[in-house]
């Protein structure tokens, strides 16, 4: 949240100073400031709520406590499997009682509590003993499932349309096929080469469309922030890392453990650096996608929030214009980040599958 806070402070301080100059009467200014503070807090809460994962699927929620949406299953591992509906939490306000155990959501995380909802604390934070293993079907998991089903439907129907239409795509496949060919020609073959690209194609295509569609979903009013979640990008980066490691040929390991063409002391010095490099590569993939999508959401929401702070004929349209411009930019970023992730994965695979004779 550091990036988010930084951007928030930057934007709000900018507009607050703007406003302070505009105010004249001292008493009036104080009233206005407290009102403004309230709005700021509300925007901050909405933003935090949007950016974080949640245990229920809420489309709209009001300050009065009305939530429009549906609950999701909560799956906990706490000395045995516990499955119950997230409606028991009443949107984080109530303590859920399941088979004699009590649970409560604190800052989007489920903790074990006593009957009154009190968590055992350590240095002001919930203690380790209160933590439970949470495998709930959260909002992000629902989005992953939806995107997975959507992709299965899109691409199996494309695959079937070839048989029906004499080797030519039909319907949405007419749009998807050039993208698939682009991934194959410009990402896979261009980086990995004709000889080894085929075995990496399924992963590259899946990860490209998966990230792209989830990024695009993040721009819809549904408010999915899936690719801006570190756990998601970590999962993706892990797969890239595993594929790189398990398809690596002799030359890949040789470059790590006994770098050819450098003196022996250098070879030894390079071993830890190269080993660290293999971890840093997927780690950079994880951070890059997460930070880009997260920051995009934060900036976009901050600018939308400005409408409510800067209630005027100038601020509203200005904020709208900026938000519109940024949305267009995010549309580009959505595709770009999917491309970058796929492209870099392909590069890592290329270094793994490269052989001496391939140069």
């Amino acid at each position: 949240m550091q990036i988010g806070n930084y951007i928030k402070i930057l934007f709000f301080s900018l507009f607050l100073t703007f406003n302070a100059h505009a105010q004249h009467g001292e008493v009036k200014s104080e009233e206005k400031t407290s009102e403004k503070q309230e709005i700021l807090d509300e925007i901050k809460e909405v933003k935090a709520h949007h950016l974080a994962d949640s245990h229920d699927f809420t489309f709209v929620s009001t300050k009065e406590g009305t939530h429009i949406g549906f609950p999701l299953p909560v799956i906990l591992w706490d000395n045995g499997l516990k499955i119950f509906s997230s409606s028991k939490f009443e949107h984080g306000e109530a303590v859920a009682e399941v088979a004699g155990n009590h649970y409560k959501i604190i800052h989007h995380k489920i903790y074990k509590t006593d009957a009154q909802g009190q968590v055992a604390e350590e240095h002001g934070h919930p203690s380790k003993a209160a933590a439970v293993l949470d495998f709930s079907i959260t909002r992000n998991v629902v989005f992953i499932l939806l995107v997975g089903l959507l992709m299965l439907w899109m691409f199996t129907s494309l695959a079937k349309s070839y048989a029906k239409n004499n080797g030519m795509p039909l319907g949405i496949g007419r749009f998807l096929e050039p993208v698939i060919i682009y991934v194959r020609d410009e990402i896979a073959i261009a980086n990995i080469g004709e000889k080894h690209y085929k075995k990496y194609m399924p992963y590259l295509l899946t990860v490209f469309f998966f990230i792209w569609i989830l990024n695009l979903l993040g721009l819809t009013p549904l408010g999915a922030n899936v690719t801006g979640n570190i756990a998601i990008t970590a999962g993706l980066a892990l797969v890239t890392y595993l594929i790189t490691t398990f398809t690596a040929k002799k030359d890949y390991w040789k470059h790590i453990f006994w770098m050819p063409g450098v003196p022996v002391p250098m070879k030894i010095a390079l071993i830890p650096i190269e080993l660290l490099g293999t971890i840093i590569k997927p780690f950079s993939l994880m951070i890059r996608l997460y930070a880009n999508m997260f920051a995009g959401h934060v900036v976009l929401m901050s600018i939308v929030g400005l409408i409510f702070i800067y209630k005027s004929w100038v601020g509203g349209p200005l904020s709208f214009g900026l938000a519109f411009f940024l949305s267009i930019l995010e549309l580009l970023v959505a595709a770009l980040q999917a491309y970058v992730f796929t492209m870099l994965s392909a590069l890592y695979f290329a270094s793994a599958s490269e052989e001496h004779g391939d140069h």
Binding site: L145, T156, A231
Partner: protein, 166 residues
């Protein structure tokens, strides 16, 4: 960084990895494999068709070239034949003329020869007749003047020679 680690949800990570891998395997089997195969088959087909078209074009050009060559050959042959025929005609006419001339000459020669021979025979006959006639006349006219027959004959010969000299 602490916030980042705190935000990390193990459950979400678990579901993401499991669902993504499931999606990857399902798509690989039911989508990417048939799609990529179909695209490759189509590309192969297009490449083959283009190769075939190029080959057909080359063949067509070859046939065209052949046709042109055959036509040219035929034209040359025709010209040659025409030329030969013309030459033959000229030769034939020439030969015929030559032959006709020769024949004519021969006929003329023969005619001349015949005339000459006839003339000679006629002359000899005339000479003979004139001789005997002269002798008879001379016998009758001169009679006595010429005692021996030898003298008479030599006289006649002289006279004939004079005649033939004429």
């Amino acid at each position: 960084m602490e916030k980042l680690i705190n935000d990390f949800s193990l459950g979400l990570f678990f579901w993401q990895t499991v669902l993504f891998l499931a999606l990857l395997f399902l798509l690989r089997k039911f989508a990417w494999k048939p799609i990529l195969e179909a695209v490759e088959a189509r590309e192969e087909g297009i490449k083959n068709a283009m190769d075939k078209a190029a080959k057909a074009k080359a063949e067509f050009e070859n046939i065209n070239a052949d046709n042109e060559r055959i036509l040219n050959e035929a034209r040359v042959q025709r010209d040659e034949m025409l030329k030969e025929a013309r030459e033959m005609k000229v030769n034939l006419v020439e030969e015929a003329k030559e032959e006709a001339k020769e024949e004519a000459n021969k006929v003329m020669e023969q005619a001349k020869q015949t005339i000459e021979n006839e003339k000679k025979a006629a002359l000899a006959d005339i000479r003979k007749q004139v001789g005997s006639l002269s002798i008879a006349i001379a016998e009758k006219v001169v009679g006595s003047e010429l005692e021996s027959k030898d003298k008479q004959a030599s006289l006649v010969d002289e006279m004939i020679k004079e005649v033939s000299l004429n």
